[in-house]
């Protein structure tokens, strides 16, 4: 039976002969081992016992030990079904020059203060950091070894460029934006967000210019299932004032939300200014036809609207009578969810208490600073707002993203928090911040190219340093900040050690989802049509069926072994990712990297740590395919991306020699490396 790196003394499981790949490592590694983790047994019980299945199962048992890891993740890597925009390799010298200028500015300030940069990162440290910070996971054993063995002065540039155009980059930066944009599958019960989540991912894969991307999100029209970009506006449906607050906070690094209720003593924004800004988007319409108010997308004619009202009446009756579940109502709602616009005048609140206006006074739209660009002056309010916000002339837009991506790469923003620029939070390096803002503009908001410059700095290629953000001392960038992996980096890194095919599963594309969930209403749509469409949906992408399928194909003790970016979201509270601080996707940048006891217990005893001790895991196979004498080096390279020091090697070899079997010792070694702080933190 499937042996792992552990032994269960006294187990009655039948032994099987080792696979051929293992022979070189020595029979001793396997002989005494057997199934190791008791809950595994329940997973083995045949569930649907047709005779054929039993026969197949028996045959499989005879030919080869049954694997407990889901088969789908053990196949050859399939690669994701999307293309990633290529990197322009000819820009290497320009990138290097831009990076050098940043280093020069940082060095000047360091010198003035007599601060020395930290030592340069060695190749092992570099390959690990580059993979984690650009691809969201540790490098595989092969990737590490190839990099360490590679000759050539430009091997770091080669690696960076390869990573920037890899699906790993897309996955990692999707997680980054998901935390900022609060990406969840059901922002409200009757908004199905999957198409929007895919749209965000694809925007990253296509490397769309940031300004155009944001502009589209702020101005998109139509039904969500047809134009997923409306998702950004729908995220705050029914909350027009928080929508403006969130938008300005995320894209302009400015918090005016406190002025929503009254002038805030610590802030320079007044309640009037807040309402004036909100007046631009006051006409945004998200109501469903037939639910009062104007139609959302404005694409439903009167006859269809009438038919819809009748259908909704029938649906309500059928739900009440128990003929169909309430999901049908939500399904219809989701098919109507969308965004439209009809001019509307915003009024001051009933309790407006300042002298410059009276409650219920109409509010004329006005921007916080600068002007609405001339080209958009006559457009609808939403367009004016978006044009002003994303305009090249609005430096705060470029500055905010320059600082945000700087923090992403370096670990500390030049202004902190990155979404709260104000007098009380002056930049630590004002000239550098303006320089970076210029750089973002020069690159025409190509954020990936900007990241490429930042990771090409000498500063980034130095050892990480501890920085306590609450110490009060301005950070001098001796190197990037030592950070704990994010929850997603940790999950995807563990997956790297477990699953050969990390991309075995991807969330549905917008088109595929619309194909299963979409329902176009016409005056002739019958109740039967609606219910049939609903059934088609619940059988595929309906959440229950979808999650069942995920568990069935990719489940390992309840954990779905796919990339964090492809998992359902938000995950339940007890999920490994949530334990390690993944956001509930309700608050902007809700992700955390703080320590808790349950995290440590999960690393000690949880199923995820043990998945890699299973036979068929990547690291298991890797160790098996090498001679025993190399086992220690292989484990170190695979888990920590460097070879062991002489004394660590001695300690590890001692463990292998003195454990009850070398296999057990090897399992103990892997477990031990996973439970180091070195593994959790990005050096």
């Amino acid at each position: 039976m499937s042996p792992g790196f552990n032994s269960l003394p006294g187990s009655k499981r039948p032994r099987t002969s080792p696979p051929r790949t293992a022979v070189r490592l020595g029979v001793a590694l396997l002989v005494a081992t057997a199934a190791w983790w008791s809950p595994a047994r329940s997973a083995e019980r045949p569930r649907q016992g047709t005779a054929t299945k039993k026969r197949d199962r028996a045959a499989a048992r005879d030919s080869e030990p049954r694997l407990r890891l889901p088969a789908a993740v053990m196949t050859a890597p399939s690669g994701p079904a999307f293309d990633v925009a290529r990197i322009d390799r000819a820009r290497r010298p320009a990138v290097a020059a831009a990076a050098a200028e940043i280093d020069r500015m940082l060095a000047t300030q360091r010198d003035e203060r007599g601060v020395k940069p930290s030592p340069p990162l060695d190749d092992g440290g570099f390959v690990r950091r580059a993979h984690l910070e650009l691809g969201g996971r540790i490098p595989t054993f092969d990737e590490t070894k190839a990099f360490l063995d590679a000759k050539g002065a430009a091997k770091r540039e080669d690696l960076v460029e390869r990573l920037l155009e890899s699906p790993d980059f897309v996955s990692h930066f999707y997680n980054f934006w998901a935390d900022i944009l609060r990406l969840t599958e059901r922002p409200q019960k009757d908004i199905f967000f999957e198409p929007y989540l895919d749209w965000v991912k694809r925007s990253i894969a296509d490397n769309r210019p940031y300004d155009a991307w944001v502009r589209e999100m702020l101005t998109a029209d139509g039904r969500l299932l047809e134009n997923p970009a409306v998702g950004y506006q729908l995220r705050d449906r029914g909350m027009p004032l928080p929508y403006v607050d969130n938008t300005v906070r995320v894209f302009l690094g400015t918090q005016i939300g406190c002025a929503q209720c009254h002038d805030h003593p610590f802030d320079s924004w007044t309640q009037k200014q807040f309402y004036e800004l909100a007046a631009f988007t006051a006409g945004t319409r998200m109501r469903e036809p037939g639910k009062g108010g104007r139609a959302a997308a404005g694409d439903v004619d009167a006859a269809t609207a009438k038919q819809l009202r009748e259908l909704q009446q029938t649906i309500r009756e059928n739900i009440r009578a128990g003929r169909v579940d309430n999901g049908l109502r939500l399904f219809v709602g989701a098919n109507l969810a969308g965004v439209g616009f009809a001019p509307r005048t915003l009024e001051l609140p009933h309790d407006y208490q300042y002298d410059d206006a009276k409650p219920f006074d109409p509010v004329r739209p006005a921007v916080l600073w600068g002007d609405v660009p001339a080209g958009a002056a006559d457009a609808e309010g939403r367009m004016q707002f978006a044009a002003w916000l994303t305009d090249r002339g609005n430096r705060q837009f470029a500055r905010t993203i320059a600082n945000r991506m700087w923090k992403k790469v370096m670990g500390a923003g030049l202004v902190e928090p990155v979404d709260d620029f104000r007098e009380d939070h002056p930049p630590t390096h004002p000239a550098l911040l303006e320089h970076l803002t210029d750089l973002v503009l020069e690159l025409d908001f190509d954020l990936r190219e900007y990241v490429r410059v930042l990771v090409s700095t000498d500063t980034w290629r130095r050892r990480a340093v501890v920085h306590d953000a609450t110490s009060g001392a301005p950070f001098q960038y001796e190197g990037p900040v030592l950070r704990r992996m994010t929850a997603e980096q940790l999950w995807d890194s563990i997956l790297t050690l477990v699953a050969r095919n990390e991309w075995a599963f991807q969330r549905p594309t917008a088109d595929a989802y619309a194909d299963r969930a979409g329902l176009a209403f016409t005056p002739k749509t019958t109740y039967g049509d609606v219910e049939a469409a609903y059934r088609r949906f619940t059988d595929t992408y309906g959440r229950a069926a979808y999650q069942r399928q995920l568990q069935k194909e990719y489940g390992y003790h309840g954990q779905v072994l796919v990339r964090a970016s492809e998992l359902p979201t938000p995950l339940p509270l007890g999920h490994f990712l949530r334990q390690f601080g993944q956001s509930d996707r309700e608050s902007i940048e809700g992700g955390r990297t703080t320590a808790t006891v349950p995290q440590i217990l999960a690393m000690f005893n949880g199923p995820i740590t043990h998945a890699m001790l299973e036979r068929g895991s990547v690291i298991y196979d890797e160790v098996m395919s090498h001679p025993t004498t190399e086992a220690v080096d292989v484990v170190f390279l695979a888990v920590l991306s460097h070879r062991p020091s002489a004394s660590d090697r001695a300690a590890a070899l001692h463990e292998l020699r003195t454990a009850s079997t070398p296999a057990v010792g090897c399992g103990n070694l892997i477990w031990a490396l996973l439970n180091t702080r070195e593994f959790l933190f990005i050096q």
Binding site: H467, R484, P598, Q599, A652
Partner: protein, 434 residues
């Protein structure tokens, strides 16, 4: 005082006596029990009136509407669709969904004149939990961490502070020692997970693994030192101590009879309250239970008919059980939220953010029951009498716990800092006002 565990180095310019007071107290009291009289000044501040040994903090996340719960305005437009019901306290009414709490109003001190400045959730919740405004340069401790830091643990193996629920954006231990970080429990039914070794692994092998990890991590730990790393080091030790402790059964609510569970309701919050009671019984100093979903911008009536009863059942059963076990005399129960909601219903049949006035509740050790303190105006728009700030509220909690709320400390950023935020305790709700 210095808030880091590893050093006694004085921080900016405060007299050492003050700085070290609480640190010394914490060290001495850790794992031992209640405050020893090691400093005359402190003893007078803390001991005699100290009533609450435990705090159960119920956090209504998303901003609970005062108008639909503890401060109804029957007969007015502002009442919305929620009716009002009589309570056991003459002349005091609650929202219709709180019938069990209404029947227990003689245990409650309701404060109806809470007010704050911030209408943003994150900032509001931070202020409520720490009594300090959210700043970029510092992370303040949540009240539970303060209490634990000052009063020490009551149980050797069990954590001193448990947080049941989401835990997102929780300030945790702030600048205090990571040892007083709350231990989050995501799902009260599951309790604390992964506390047992895998079946295949002997204790000896587990120790081998730990020793090996420690050995290999030595270089890294020597190279890097910082608060976040130190937090992990500390919690690794805590986790090991916790594993295999017999006290862990306190986390297992399956040990309760179905009838008992039934009284708490089957909501996650109800089960969280049940878990809180078990933990208090077992000697956990502070428990916070979160109930999310109060951000009712749309269709408030529908949401209220779910949340209201969840709160009503969970909190009522908690009060009953604590009282039956004699624990309500030593346990303070707090119900808090980040701010209130607008008196005028919006076009989506919901209520928006309204920090000007809202309600919070105290019950149990150290506070009077059957009291309503302060009032909002007839529309529920602003405080009408006896306004209570968030700092006042936190200081009141500190007073009920016998903590030295008027003692000034120095936070790591050099600013003065007081437990409870330097407010004035609300004497009218305290059993023994200062």
């Amino acid at each position: 005082m210095n808030f880091s565990s590893s050093s006694d180095e004085p921080t900016l310019g405060r007299p050492l006596a003050r700085r070290t007071l609480l640190g010394r107290l914490a060290r001495t009291a850790f794992g031992v029990g209640l405050v020893p009289a090691l400093d005359a000044r402190l003893a007078t501040a803390a001991a005699p009136r100290a009533r609450a040994k435990h705090v159960v903090y119920l956090m209504m996340q998303g901003a609970m509407s005062h108008l639909d719960t503890f401060d109804p305005k029957p007969g007015r437009d502002e009442a919305g669709e929620t009716g009002a019901i009589a309570t056991k306290t003459p002349g005091v009414r609650f929202g219709e969904h709180l019938e069990r709490l209404a029947a227990r109003s003689e245990r409650l001190a309701v404060i109806r004149s809470m007010g704050t400045e911030t209408g943003a959730h994150e900032q509001g919740a931070y202020l409520m939990r720490t009594a300090y405004p959210m700043l970029a340069s510092i992370r303040h401790p949540a009240f539970g961490s303060w209490a634990l830091h000052a009063l020490g643990k009551l149980s050797k193996d069990l954590p001193g502070y448990v947080l049941v629920g989401n835990g997102n954006n929780h300030p945790g231990a702030g600048f205090l020692d990571p040892a007083v970080t709350p231990v989050p429990v995501a799902d009260p039914s599951a309790g604390l997970e992964n506390t047992t070794r895998p079946g295949y692994l002997s204790e000896k092998d587990f120790e081998r693994r730990l020793a090996l990890a420690d050995r290999i991590d030595r270089d890294f730990k020597q190279r890097h030192r910082g608060p976040q790393l130190e937090a992990y080091n500390q919690l690794y030790r805590d986790a090991v101590r916790l594993m295999g402790s017999v006290d862990l059964e306190a986390f297992d609510i399956a040990r309760e009879k179905p009838a008992v569970r039934g009284r708490y309701g089957d909501s996650s919050f109800g089960l969280g309250c049940l878990l809180a009671r078990r933990l208090v019984e077992a000697g956990v100093r502070c428990v916070e239970v979160e109930l999310g979903g109060w951000d009712m911008h749309r269709d408030l009536a529908e949401s209220m008919s779910e949340k209201g009863p969840d709160l009503d059942r969970g909190m009522s059963a908690l009060l009953d059980d604590l009282a039956d076990r004699g624990l309500l005399d030593s346990t303070l129960v707090v119900l808090a939220t980040e701010f209130g909601r607008t008196p005028v219903m919006n076009e989506n049949a919901g209520r928006d953010h309204h920090p000007a006035v809202f309600s919070c509740v105290l019950a149990g050790a150290g506070v009077k029951g059957g009291v309503v303190h302060g009032a909002s105006d007839e529309r529920g728009h602003a405080p009408d009498a006896d306004p209570v700030s968030v700092a006042d509220f936190n200081t009141t909690i500190a007073a009920a716990c016998g903590l030295p709320y008027d003692e000034e400390f120095v936070a790591p950023n050099g600013r003065p800092f007081k437990i409870g935020g330097g407010g004035t305790p609300v004497g009218a709700v305290l059993a023994d006002p200062a």
